[in-house]
């Protein structure tokens, strides 16, 4: 394969990469030659890269990551455990839908992050408070997407199960849940972003360790390259997790992938 055909086949990747490289070079050059700003107030890629190397080799970054992940995993797991069943029952039982709807609509629409101080007061500064915040923020995408998935279940398939004498349990296990799984995975994708916000805000607000704390501390003490290292690590984690979800969505529901126009 020649270089040219390789480029043609992976156009998306190469153009995307080129655009990122261009952005970084422009940033570096502008801050070096055009506006040589005091590094105290702003920073550039070369300084961030140096800080990155240093941080990755040290122990503090990994410790902070471990602390934050712990809270994230707890909160996120509970969001899955609570959100999916609530969404399933809400989608299938009209009465449950109607009685939960006002609460969920209000909670979903309002900036829940405003409750962060309350959560920290009630649950404390440690893992519990942050996990509770992650749960609060990430449970709604699970509830709503599961709900939407149930609502869009093909009624023909419900009739098929019924016609073979299937019971309510069979409807759930053999049709509603499997047809809802792609929706749940899409919900997980949203929930990841929101859960990360929960962690960071929780740690901004009150913490003595964790990646959010590290970012806010670096900012407070004008160590901008270090601050950017935290931000970049977070973005990387978010991108990797969402990409995993996207891949999962395709493997879990191949019949949908083939319908989509790419």
């Amino acid at each position: 394969m020649t270089l040219k055909t390789h480029f043609a086949e992976h156009r998306r990747f190469w153009i995307g990469l080129g655009s990122v490289v261009f952005f970084l070079c422009a940033w570096e050059l502008i801050l070096t030659y055009v506006f040589p700003v005091n590094p105290f107030f702003f920073t550039k890629p070369s300084l961030i890269a140096a800080a990155f190397r240093e941080q990755v080799q040290g122990a503090k970054l990994w410790h902070d990551l471990a602390i934050s992940s712990q809270a994230f995993i707890w909160g996120f797991s509970f969001a899955v455990i609570v959100g999916i069943p609530v969404g399933l029952v809400m989608g299938w039982r009209r009465r449950v839908e109607y009685s939960l709807d006002p609460f969920l609509t209000a909670l979903y629409a309002s900036p829940l992050i405003a409750l962060a101080p309350l959560f920290i007061i009630v649950f404390g500064v440690g893992v519990l408070g942050k996990a509770a915040l992650v749960f609060l923020l990430s449970v709604f995408p699970f509830i709503f997407n599961t709900f939407a998935g149930v609502k869009s279940t093909d009624s023909l398939l419900i009739n098929v199960i019924r016609s073979f004498g299937g019971r309510e349990k069979d409807l759930y296990l053999k049709v509603i849940l499997p047809s809802t799984i792609p929706y749940i995975i899409a919900g997980a994708r949203l929930a990841i972003g929101r859960g990360l916000v929960g962690i960071i805000v929780g740690e901004f607000y009150a913490a003595s360790e964790g990646i959010g704390f590290a970012i806010s501390q670096a900012g407070d003490t004008y160590r901008l390259p270090e601050m950017f290292v935290g931000i970049i690590i977070l973005s990387l984690i978010a991108v990797v997790l969402t990409e995993i979800m996207r891949k999962l969505e395709i493997t879990a529901a191949p019949w949908r992938a083939s319908d989509e126009v790419r």
């Binding site: 073979f164 004498g165 299937g166 019949w255 319908d259």
Partner: protein
């Protein structure tokens, strides 16, 4: 002796919210013998599919009786199985797993299920596609799975609701011939709803023509063509004669309706 399937004065109205009730069936009378292949034709909206759904046990009539083997139908049961127009296959299941669905719901052990599915895959000519998913199949193949799934539970009655309407013309012709071969081997009682006069004439022992909504039996025609039937039979004058007879009865009903 009472007929195998008997509907007497069967009536059903739908009551959409905030609107007048719509009578789907009024006083439908019909009798089908065991092992018979009966087609139901009629104008759109005449309640043909509604009747099949009552027979399947998914909806209930307002009044009248519907009996199978002298027992009233009260709900779904595996003695009746439906082949759906839009296939109704579970997209996350393989061909084999789709065919096993009814057996699974009945609680048949895995080994027996697999054996039965293998048998049916052979019967409908899907060898080699056991592990394929519905989205990888053509329309005709999907309906073969639908047919195999319905036959898997060994029902006494096979209900077919325009099963070939979603297929292209050639696949349709092919599937009709194969359905006849399968029917001759399994000897199920078949109720077949269709819009196609040709399909009804080719497949059936008898054709029931329904009136426009609300549906009643307008006429019943005996199809005297010998069996086994083949595609060439459709080109004979006798076959055209039968089609014309069905058309003449049906025409009055189509004319009685407001223009579409």
């Amino acid at each position: 002796m009472a007929p195998f399937i008997q509907a007497q004065n069967l009536s059903l109205s739908f009551r959409p919210k905030n609107r007048e009730p719509v009578a789907a069936l009024t006083d439908l009378n019909l009798a089908v013998a065991r092992g018979e292949f009966v087609s139901i034709v009629g104008p759109s909206g005449c309640g043909k599919s509604t009747f099949l759904n009552i027979l399947l046990g998914l909806i209930k009539q307002d009044s009248g009786t519907l009996e199978l083997n002298s027992t009233p139908i009260t709900g779904p049961s595996q003695e009746r199985a439906m082949v759906f127009q839009e296939f109704g296959l579970l997209p996350w299941r393989t061909v084999a797993a789709n065919i096993e669905l009814g057996l699974e719901l009945k609680g048949t052990p895995t080994a027996a299920r697999t054996e039965r599915a293998t048998e049916l895959i052979k019967l409908v000519g899907l060898n080699g596609f056991e592990r394929h998913y519905p989205h990888e199949l053509s329309g005709g193949m999907k309906q073969r799975v639908g047919l195999a799934r319905a036959l898997a539970t060994e029902p006494q009655v096979l209900l077919m609701d325009e099963p070939f309407a979603a297929l292209d013309a050639q696949t349709r012709d092919l599937m009709q011939t194969e359905l006849l071969q399968i029917w001759e081997r399994t000897k199920k009682t078949v109720l077949f709803v269709t819009h196609s006069i040709e399909e009804a004439a080719y497949l059936s022992d008898r054709v029931i023509i329904m009136t426009a909504r609300p549906g009643r039996t307008k006429d019943v025609l005996q199809i005297g063509l010998p069996r086994p039937r083949d595609y060439e039979m459709r080109l004979t004058p006798e076959f055209n004669e039968i089609k014309l007879r069905i058309w003449e009865v049906l025409k009055e009903e189509l004319n009685s309706r407001a223009p579409l």
